[in-house]
C-alpha cells in the first residue's frame, strides 16, 4: 500500500472528502467510546464456574486460576497477561474483594485504568454486593490524577513551572477553551505568515493536530520543540513538507508561551507540570504513598508512557499490586497507547501469570479470528485445521441499501424468530455515517426491534433544542449584530412552541420577524391567518415574544448560560412549550448551559490579564465556526436499554464487552484498516519506541495497516460468543467500489476454504 499522500487538493476530491469526514467522526466516536463501558460491563456474562471467593455477600464466581490470583498474599505484586475474554478483569475484581475481606481500607486501594469506564467492573462488583461498609476505592486515570494533583499543589510549583501569575489560580482548559485560545493565538500567525498554505484541510483540523502533537509530546515525554525535528527525520517529504512541520512547531510553541503567561493549562501542559514538577514534590509523593497502598492497574496496554512512568513509581511505593495486560491489544494508539512500553512494568512485579483460554468465544469463533487475521499477518494466524466457517455468515450485495436490508432481516430472524435478546447483538462498521445509522435504525424499527446508537461526534449545535436556544440568543442580543436567518427563527419558534408545525412557524416568521425583532401576534392582520395559526398557539408565541423583548429592553446579560437558563426556566420548560417535560430537550439544554458556562469561566479568568473579550458574542462566534460542545458522561450512562447497539467498530471494541452476535457491515471499506489522514502529526513516529533517525516507509505503513486490522479482527472475534455476519456491498454508500484490506482477507479466507473443499479437508 502506498504511503498516505500529503496532497494539496485533498478537499477537491469528493471521495476523499467524504472519507475525511467519516474518519473525523470515527475518531471523535472512538474517544467517547470508552465511556460506554460503564453499562456494557454490567451485563457482561460470567460463564466461569468454580470457587466462590469471599464469605457473606461479597461473592463472585471465579475459576481456580482466577481464584489463585485473588487469593495471593496482600504483599504480592503480580503481572497478569492474557487475551481478551480470558477472565483477567474478573480475577482483578476477585482480588479487590479479597483485599477488602482481609480488612484493607478501601480508600487505600487504587484502581488505575486508561479510561474511567474501564473501572466499572470493579465499582459494580462493590455496589452489587451489599454488606460492605467502609471507605471507597479510588479510581484514577493519568488525566484525572494529574488534574487533581496539579490543582492541589499548584501554589508550590506554579512559579518554578514558569507560569506568569504564580499566586493566581490555574485555569484548566476544556477542549472548547483550548480550541478558542488556539484560534486566538495561532490564527493571526497562520494568516500573517501564510502558514500551512499547501495543506488543504480544514483549519480546525490543523489546529487540533497541533494540539495532538503537544499531547503526544507530553504523553511520550519529549519537549515540544522536538515535534518538528522528529517528524522531519522520520517523514522526509521534501522542503514543503518540512515547512509544514516547522509551522506546526512554531504554532505549538506560541500556544505554550501564551498558556504559561496566562496560567492556562491545556492537557499537555497539565501533564508536563504534573510529571516534571508536582510528581517530584516530597509532599505530593508522600500523599500518594500514604493514600494508595494497593494497586490494581487494568488494561495497561491501552495506557501511555506517561501513565507507565507513574505506574512504575506506584509499583515501587505500594504494598501490593496486580497489573493486567491484554495481549494483542493497544487500540488507543491514537491517544498515545504504547503496549510495548507497558510490558516494562513486568519488571516491577514479583510474579507473572498468564491466562490463555477465552471464556467467551467458541472454538469456531477462535478459528475465524485466527484464520482472518492470519490472512493479514502470518504470526496472528492459527492452525490450518481451524475451520472458521461455522461461525461466519455472509452475503454479497450489489448496492449498499440491499446490504443494510439484509442485516436488518437477519437481526429480525434472530430477535423475533429465535428469541435472541437485542442486547446480544451489535452492528458495526468502521465509520457510522448518519445515512447508515438512520437506515439501520429505521430498518429495525420497522421490524419492531429497538436499537440505539451513539454519535458523539454530532455537534451540540445540531440538536434542535440547542439550535433554538442559540437562535434566541442572537435575537435577544441585537448589539452583537448576529441577526439570525429567517428559517432559523422559524425553526426555533417551531421547536419552542408545543404544537406548532414548521409550516405555521414559517408563516409566523414571515409575518412577524422584522429587522431582527419579533413582533407580537396581534400584528398578524389577516383573520384567516390568525385562525390558521390558532389563537392558542398565538398566545404562546406572544409569551415567548414578550419575554424576549422584555429581556432586550432590560439589562441583557453577557453570561449566555444564564440567558439560556432563564429562557428555559421561565418560558420554554413551561406547559405549552416544547421543552416541557422533554428529557432530550432538558439534556441538550443542560449540555449547552455547561458548555457556555465553562467557556465563560475561562474567559472571565482571562479578563484579569487582558481586555477585549465579549463573552456571549465570542461563544456564538465559536459555535458558528463549528466548535463542538463538550460531551458528558452522564448522557451515556443513562442509556442502558436492552437494544441492538449500532456503533463504529472501535466504539464497540473499547467498551470491552462481549456479545453473542456481531454484524460487520461495509466489509469492503478501506476504513477498517487505513489510518486517519493527518498531515501534521503521526502516531507512530511520535511514539516512544520509534528509533531516532529511522524513516517511516511505505512498507511500514502497509505493515502497520495489516497489523492493526489483524489485531482488530482478533479483538472483535474474541468478543463474540456465537456468530459473525459479514455485510458486503460492491458499491459503497457513496456509490464507489470497495476493495479494502478486510475484504482482501475475507476473499483469501474463502479461497482457502474453497481449496480445502476441493481437497476434502473442509468440514462444511
Amino acid at each position: 500500500m502506498d504511503r498516505p499522500e500529503i496532497t494539496c487538493d485533498y478537499l477537491g476530491n469528493a471521495r476523499a472528502s467524504s472519507r475525511l469526514a467519516s474518519a473525523l467522526a470515527h475518531i471523535a466516536e472512538q474517544i467517547i467510546a470508552f465511556e460506554l463501558a460503564a453499562f456494557y460491563n454490567r451485563r457482561n456474562r460470567q460463564r466461569q464456574i468454580g470457587k466462590r471467593i469471599l464469605s457473606g455477600k461479597l461473592q463472585i464466581p471465579l475459576t481456580p486460576e482466577q481464584a489463585a490470583i485473588a487469593a495471593a498474599p496482600p504483599d504480592t505484586k503480580i503481572w497478569l497477561e492474557g487475551i481478551a475474554g480470558s477472565g483477567k478483569t474478573s480475577a482483578g475484581v476477585g482480588r479487590l474483594l479479597r483485599l477488602l475481606e482481609l480488612g484493607i481500607p478501601a480508600e487505600s486501594i487504587l484502581i488505575y485504568v486508561p479510561q474511567r469506564s474501564l473501572a466499572q467492573p470493579y465499582l459494580q462488583a462493590l455496589r452489587r454486593h451489599s454488606g460492605y461498609s467502609g471507605g471507597q476505592v479510588a479510581v484514577q486515570t493519568i488525566g484525572g490524577l494529574s488534574l487533581q494533583m496539579v490543582e492541589a499543589f499548584w501554589f508550590l510549583i506554579a512559579e518554578r513551572a514558569g507560569f506568569g501569575h504564580p499566586h493566581d489560580l490555574p485555569n484548566f482548559l476544556s477542549l472548547e477553551s483550548v480550541q478558542y485560545f488556539m484560534i486566538k493565538i495561532i490564527e493571526p500567525l497562520v494568516n500573517q505568515r501564510d502558514y500551512f498554505n499547501s495543506v488543504r484541510i480544514d483549519r480546525a483540523r490543523l489546529y487540533s493536530q497541533i494540539v495532538d502533537n503537544m499531547n503526544k509530546a507530553a504523553l511520550v515525554g519529549f519537549p515540544i520543540d522536538q515535534i518538528a525535528p522528529r517528524l522531519k527525520r522520520a517523514l522526509p517529504g521534501g522542503v514543503e513538507q518540512g515547512h509544514i512541520y516547522d509551522d506546526a512547531q512554531t504554532c505549538a510553541l506560541a500556544f505554550r508561551e501564551y498558556c504559561l503567561a496566562n496560567n492556562l493549562l491545556d492537557f499537555s501542559l497539565q501533564l508536563e507540570v504534573f510529571l516534571d514538577h508536582v510528581w517530584n514534590l516530597p509532599q505530593a509523593r508522600e500523599h500518594v504513598r500514604m493514600r494508595y497502598r494497593h494497586l490494581i492497574a487494568d488494561n495497561v496496554e491501552e495506557d501511555n508512557p506517561a501513565s507507565h512512568r507513574i505506574l512504575a513509581d506506584l509499583l515501587r511505593l505500594c504494598q501490593s499490586a496486580l497489573v493486567i495486560y491484554d495481549s494483542d491489544a493497544g487500540f488507543r494508539r491514537f491517544l498515545g497507547a504504547d503496549p510495548e512500553n507497558a510490558r516494562r512494568l513486568q519488571g516491577f512485579c514479583d510474579a507473572r501469570e498468564q491466562f490463555a483460554d477465552s471464556k467467551v468465544m467458541s472454538d469456531e469463533g477462535r478459528a475465524l479470528g485466527r484464520a482472518l487475521a492470519g490472512q493479514l499477518v502470518a504470526a496472528l494466524g492459527g492452525s490450518a485445521e481451524d475451520d472458521p466457517q461455522p461461525s461466519l455468515i455472509t452475503e454479497a450485495h450489489r448496492y449498499h441499501p440491499q446490504m443494510v436490508d439484509w442485516a436488518a432481516g437477519r437481526i429480525d430472524e434472530l430477535v423475533n424468530g429465535q428469541g435472541v435478546s437485542p442486547g446480544e447483538i451489535v452492528v458495526m462498521a468502521p465509520f457510522m455515517s448518519d445515512v447508515l445509522r438512520f437506515a439501520l435504525v429505521e430498518g429495525l424499527r420497522a421490524r419492531d426491534i429497538r436499537a440505539r446508537s451513539h454519535r458523539p461526534s454530532r455537534a451540540l449545535r445540531d440538536e434542535p433544542a440547542a439550535r433554538a436556544l442559540l437562535t434566541f440568543a442572537r435575537l435577544a442580543h441585537p448589539r452583537w449584530h448576529m441577526r439570525p436567518a429567517e428559517f432559523d427563527v422559524a425553526f426555533a419558534v417551531m421547536t419552542a412552541i408545543d404544537g406548532l408545525d414548521l409550516i405555521r412557524a414559517k408563516l409566523l416568521t414571515e409575518m412577524l420577524y422584522r429587522d431582527g425583532r419579533m413582533l407580537p401576534f396581534s400584528d398578524v392582520k389577516s383573520g384567516a391567518m390568525q385562525d390558521r395559526i390558532t389563537y392558542e398557539l398565538g398566545a404562546r408565541y406572544d409569551r415567548l415574544q414578550t419575554w424576549l423583548n422584555n429581556y432586550i429592553e432590560g439589562a441583557p446579560t453577557e453570561a449566555l448560560d444564564i440567558f439560556f437558563r432563564q429562557l428555559f426556566g421561565e418560558v420554554l420548560s413551561r406547559a405549552g412549550f416544547g421543552f416541557h417535560d422533554n428529557r432530550d430537550a432538558g439534556n441538550v439544554s443542560m449540555n449547552l448551559v455547561d458548555s457556555a458556562r465553562n467557556f465563560r469561566w475561562s474567559l472571565e479568568f482571562m479578563r484579569r490579564y487582558e481586555e477585549g473579550t465579549d463573552l456571549g458574542k465570542d461563544y456564538l462566534e465559536m459555535v458558528d465556526r463549528g466548535v463542538i460542545a463538550d460531551f458528558y458522561l452522564r448522557d451515556w450512562i443513562a442509556d442502558n436499554d436492552d437494544c441492538v447497539l449500532i456503533a463504529p467498530a472501535y466504539t464497540f471494541l473499547l467498551s470491552n464487552r462481549a456479545v453473542d452476535y456481531q454484524f460487520w457491515l461495509n466489509v469492503g471499506s478501506e476504513g477498517w484498516a487505513r489510518r486517519l489522514y493527518q498531515p501534521l502529526t503521526h502516531p507512530h513516529v511520535l511514539s516512544l519506541g520509534w528509533p531516532a533517525g529511522r524513516t517511516w516507509t511505505d512498507d511500514d505503513e502497509s505493515a502497520m495497516n495489516r497489523q492493526t486490522l489483524g489485531r482488530l479482527i482478533l479483538a472483535l472475534t474474541r468478543r463474540c460468543r456465537k456468530e459473525i455476519y459479514l455485510g458486503y456491498s460492491e458499491l459503497s454508500e457513496s456509490g464507489y467500489e470497495q476493495r479494502g484490506l478486510l475484504l482482501e482477507a475475507i476473499h483469501g479466507l474463502l479461497r482457502r476454504s474453497a481449496a480445502d473443499n476441493i481437497n476434502g479437508k473442509a468440514r462444511v
Binding site: 473525523l24 454488606g131 501554589f155 499566586h167 493566581d168 476544556s174 491517544l335 437558563r565 443542560m590 448551559v593
Partner: protein
C-alpha cells in the same frame, strides 16, 4: 419503582425525597435534567457557590501540607474569601482530634441500599472523639433544631457509626461521635451536635422509613409546601413559580453541582 439496584443514597438525594418525592423521582429515577436558574440573581448565586467550593479546596490543600500563608497570598482577588480563610486559620482546626482525614467518602448499607457520605473532614482519636466537621459559608447561623433535622446530620453521623471502624480502630460508639458545623462567614462560630445509641436507632428508623417510602411509592407526590419549590429547578415543570430570591437562600453550598469530571486523556484530534 425504577431505582437502579446499585443506587447510592446521599444526603442530597435523601433530602430531595424528604422535601418532595416528585423532585426525587424527576432527578434520580427519570433523570430529567432541567437547567432552570436556582436562585435570583443568578450570577450572584453562582459567585457564592464558587466561593464556597474554593474555600473547601483551600482547606483540602492546607490539610495536604500547603502552608496557610501561601494559600492566603492566592486570595488577593477575593477579600471576603480571604476573611473566611483568616477565620479558618484562627479557629478552623482548634480543639479537633489530631488524626484528620479530609474529603473522605464512607459507605454502608441499610435495607439493601447503599448510603454514602462525603465528609469535609473527619477528626478522630482512637478510643476518643470522632468529630465530623462540615465547613459552611452561609451568611447566617441557623437554629440548631434546623440542622439536627437536616438529612446531612442524620446521614453523616449514621454512616460514620456504621462504616468508620477502620479509621477509628474499632466500631465507633455513637456517643463518641459529634458533628460540628463551622460557619466561617460568621467568625468561625460552631454549632455542635452530639450523637447517641438512641439517636442512632431513631435515625436508622427514619432512614428505613424514608427509603421504604421511596421504594414503595406508586405515585411520587408533589410537596404541598410551596416554599420548598423556590430553589428547585423543576418548579417550571410543576408550575410552581419562578426562581427564589437569593437573600432567602443561605445554603449556597447545599445546592450541589452535578458531580462530573471529564477525563482529559480522552482528548485527541476531534472535529471542531
Amino acid at each position: 419503582m425504577n431505582l437502579p439496584d446499585d443506587f447510592a443514597f446521599t444526603q442530597g438525594s435523601l433530602q430531595d425525597a424528604a422535601d418532595c418525592l416528585r423532585r426525587f423521582e424527576l432527578r434520580y429515577i427519570k433523570r430529567l435534567r432541567y437547567p432552570a436558574v436556582e436562585a435570583a440573581p443568578a450570577l450572584q448565586f453562582e459567585r457564592r457557590t464558587r466561593q464556597g467550593a474554593r474555600f473547601h479546596k483551600l482547606v483540602q490543600q492546607h490539610l495536604l501540607g500547603l502552608p496557610a500563608e501561601t494559600l492566603a497570598r492566592s486570595l488577593h482577588d477575593d477579600p471576603e474569601l480571604a476573611t473566611w480563610w483568616e477565620t479558618f486559620r484562627r479557629t478552623g482546626l482548634a480543639g479537633l482530634p489530631e488524626q484528620r482525614q479530609a474529603e473522605i467518602t464512607l459507605q454502608t448499607y441499610l435495607a439493601g441500599r447503599r448510603l454514602t457520605a462525603k465528609y469535609d473532614l473527619l477528626a478522630l482519636d482512637a478510643g476518643g472523639e470522632a468529630v465530623i466537621v462540615d465547613w459552611k459559608t452561609w451568611r447566617r447561623v441557623p437554629a440548631q433544631s434546623y440542622l439536627e433535622s437536616r438529612l446531612q446530620t442524620v446521614l453523616y453521623r449514621y454512616v460514620l457509626a456504621k462504616a468508620g471502624a477502620h479509621l477509628y480502630g474499632a466500631q465507633i460508639p455513637p456517643e463518641k461521635i459529634r458533628m460540628v458545623y463551622c460557619f466561617v462567614a460568621r467568625g468561625g462560630e460552631r454549632l455542635s451536635i452530639d450523637y447517641s445509641a438512641e439517636q442512632l436507632r431513631k435515625d436508622e428508623d427514619y432512614l428505613l422509613n424514608l427509603i421504604a417510602e421511596i421504594e414503595g411509592a406508586e405515585q411520587f407526590t408533589l410537596t404541598e409546601d410551596e416554599s420548598l419549590c423556590r430553589f428547585c429547578t423543576y418548579r417550571s415543570l410543576c408550575e410552581r413559580g419562578g426562581a427564589g430570591p437569593l437573600d432567602l437562600l443561605d445554603e449556597d453550598d447545599e445546592l450541589e453541582e452535578e458531580d462530573f469530571v471529564l477525563d482529559f486523556d480522552q482528548i485527541a484530534e476531534i472535529e471542531f
